[in-house]
């Protein structure tokens, strides 16, 4: 059976993926945000499992994680909130989180729960490629979970090829050498990087993340790639406008 992510990647369009931190702004917002995002025409969602020490994240996502943990979010609570999500939501759902909370939950138990609630993929920034291959690849695959790896402008060509060989969905292309949320638009450097990777003709599609905040950066990022992920800008939007206008936010990107 084809994973929902793989099916989505076959569609002839540029994909918009949205990241948000589960349990933010309010603990019980998770399912409602997912439903609204789907209804607004978003193609894929990354649900952030908050961590106390998010090394790769800038201030916006850090603050949302801190707030979510204060609200009482835990791995168990998140799975509870997602229990019935597949009754209404059809688009691919990924969980994005740091490795320690998953390790404490038990990696196998975590995979089982993901499969049970209908998660299609995982993004675990601090799970190293070699550890994944040695210890977890079989387990993830047995539970129908695609593991998504990151590459950056600094990643060597050789390593990109290796990552491509062990991926079977998409590669998360970090737009620049930075933590989340720190870019103000893309310049020539990014465009050259997007082009360089496009030329490599990888098996896996590339989806760009970090620094995409509006229609313009979305278009720039997807000129040479399959799609783009918006995180910090969406969280800022939630912080400033609350959830009533999620539709407007998405419309401004896609119109």
């Amino acid at each position: 059976m084809m994973n929902r992510i793989q099916t989505k990647l076959k569609e002839d369009k540029k994909l918009l993926s949205i990241y948000f931190t589960a349990g933010f702004p309010n603990l019980e917002d998770t399912a409602s945000i997912i439903n609204q995002l789907e209804q607004s025409g978003v193609d894929m969602i990354e649900i952030g499992l908050p961590f106390s020490d998010p090394l790769a994240d800038g201030p916006t996502i850090q603050a949302s994680s801190t707030q979510s943990l204060k609200n009482g979010m835990t791995t168990e609570v998140l799975f509870q909130q997602l229990k019935n999500i597949r009754e209404t939501v059809l688009i691919p759902l990924l969980l994005m989180g740091y490795f320690n909370p998953i390790l404490q939950y038990g990696v196998e138990a975590f995979c089982e729960k993901c499969q049970e609630v209908g998660i299609d993929g995982l993004i675990i920034p601090d799970l190293p490629v070699d550890v994944y291959v040695a210890d977890y690849q079989k387990m993830f695959e047995a539970h129908g979970l695609l593991n998504v790896f990151l590459i950056t402008p600094q990643t060597s060509e050789e390593r990109i090829k290796f990552i491509d060989s062990i991926s079977n969905g998409f590669i998360y292309m970090v737009s620049s050498s930075s933590v989340t949320g720190s870019q103000e638009g893309f310049g020539e450097e990014q465009t050259n990087y997007f082009k360089r990777i496009a030329k490599m003709q990888l098996h896996n599609a590339q989806i760009v993340g970090f620094g995409i905040s509006n229609k313009q950066t979305f278009s720039q990022a997807t000129a040479y790639t399959k799609g783009a992920i918006i995180g910090s800008a969406f969280i800022k939007h939630l912080t400033e406008n609350r959830e009533g206008t999620i539709k407007d936010f998405v419309k401004r990107i896609l119109e």
């Binding site: 106390s52 020490d53 800038g58 390790l103 404490q104 939950y105 190293p128």
Partner: protein, 393 residues
């Protein structure tokens, strides 16, 4: 069983490099080069010369006669407190600044809790004329004003860490984020045997000058290079790693690690990671750390700012799990009392971190003929305010 790091960067089941891809090129560059660079004769020569002429090494191994009489055993103090800048931290920063230069880096970042490692980093950056940025929790900046001033005087920029609990672990997060944002020209001088491989091993090697000297000096004092015990305090574990290093594989030398129990192990305000921690991942390393059931990292407490880190280095996690080292914990009160005792018996005011190690003599009875070497990791000048407030001096 080996107690050194293996080729994959693990001590037993602990260690590794659990880092986001953004950090991979930086850490990989270091991993591929650190042993090669350290083995170069010119590197060795420069390192050793700076340790001698700038740091003031070898630091004395001092037989503490009156302390030995009180506790009826033979106590030697390894005087890291007499190093330039007042602690063992400078052994590591000298090594790493030379490493950074060999790798062509022009910008140095560091984290600091109490400010000792920050001062040691700012010092070597001044020495080498390199830009220096030190991340320090906003709360620590407020309570360690003299060290903040020292760093500024040495030309460093001190950046407050405003995230999370605004202390050492958050300063470390900020330094790592800076490194992600500046992957090419920057070297991160980490301050203890923590972080992703190869940091724990590299820092342990730079600190291993401590045990190398202990062996030679003990031979001159006692006609043996082997003590019965080596004792050190453990925050992240760098002074302990340095003091143990050349004794690690010789199990006839017993190792004792003293952690900070804060207000008591069960008080909820403690930093005794070996007792309160579980295996997990902190700052890119699989090790023991204090965390909630859900794997969120918790904030430790100790009166000593240098010991309130929620993890320990992977070498120490392995020494604990394998039983190679005995782990004890000293409360604030036990450490402060031991510090006062050293001042009055030997005329040495220790750093409060080191005072935790000294509390071992109230916890454990040694034999009269045992040679006990204790790493006196730092001097108490930075802690005078804490001593004043504690003892109403």
């Amino acid at each position: 069983m080996s107690y050194n790091v293996n080729i994959k960067g693990y001590y037993g089941e602990f260690g590794g490099a659990f880092i986001p891809e953004m950090l991979y090129p930086n850490v990989e560059e270091l991993r591929q080069n650190y042993l090669k660079v350290m083995a170069e004769p010119e590197f060795q020569a420069e390192f050793n010369q700076l340790l001698k002429d700038y740091v003031g090494r070898p630091s004395p191994l001092y037989f503490a006669k009156r302390l030995s009489e009180v506790y009826n055993t033979r106590i030697y103090l390894k005087r890291e407190d007499l190093n330039h800048t007042g602690a063992h931290k400078i052994n590591n920063t000298i090594g790493q600044i030379l490493m950074a230069k060999r790798l062509g880096k022009t910008r140095i970042i560091a984290e600091t809790g109490a400010g000792q490692h920050g001062v040691a980093t700012a010092t070597v950056c001044a020495l080498m004329g390199l830009e220096c940025i030190v991340y320090m929790g906003e709360i620590d900046i407020a309570r360690q004003a003299p060290n903040v001033a020292r760093m500024k005087m040495l030309g460093a920029t001190v950046v407050p860490a405003l995230s999370g609990s605004k202390t050492l672990k958050d300063a470390t997060n900020e330094a790592i984020r800076d490194w992600i944002n500046n992957p090419v020209n920057t070297h991160y001088i980490i301050g203890s045997v923590v972080g992703p491989h190869p940091y724990p091993d590299m820092v342990a090697r730079f600190q291993s000058v401590i045990s190398e000297e202990i062996q030679k000096q003990l031979l001159a004092h006692e006609q043996t290079s082997k003590p019965e015990y080596v004792v050190a305090c453990v925050g992240g574990g760098s002074n302990a790693a340095g003091a143990y290093y050349h004794f690690l594989e010789d199990t006839s030398v017993k190792l004792i690690a003293v952690e900070a129990a804060g207000h008591g192990i069960d008080s909820g305000e403690s930093a005794a990671t070996s007792v309160l921690g579980r295996e997990g991942i902190i700052h890119g390393s699989k090790t023991l750390l204090m965390q909630t059931k859900d794997g969120q990292i918790t904030e430790p407490y100790s009166i000593s700012a240098g010991l309130d880190y929620p993890g320990v280095g992977p070498m120490h996690a392995h020494l604990f799990a394998s039983g190679r080292a005995e782990f004890l914990a000293a409360t604030d009160n036990e450490a402060m009392t031991a510090g006062m005792k050293l001042a009055q018996l030997e005329g040495i005011i220790p750093a409060i971190e080191s005072a935790h190690a000294l509390a071992v003599f109230e916890k454990k009875q040694f034999n009269p003929n045992d040679i006990v070497v204790l790493c006196l990791s730092g001097r108490g000048d930075k802690d005078l305010d804490t001593y004043i407030n504690y003892f109403k001096l």
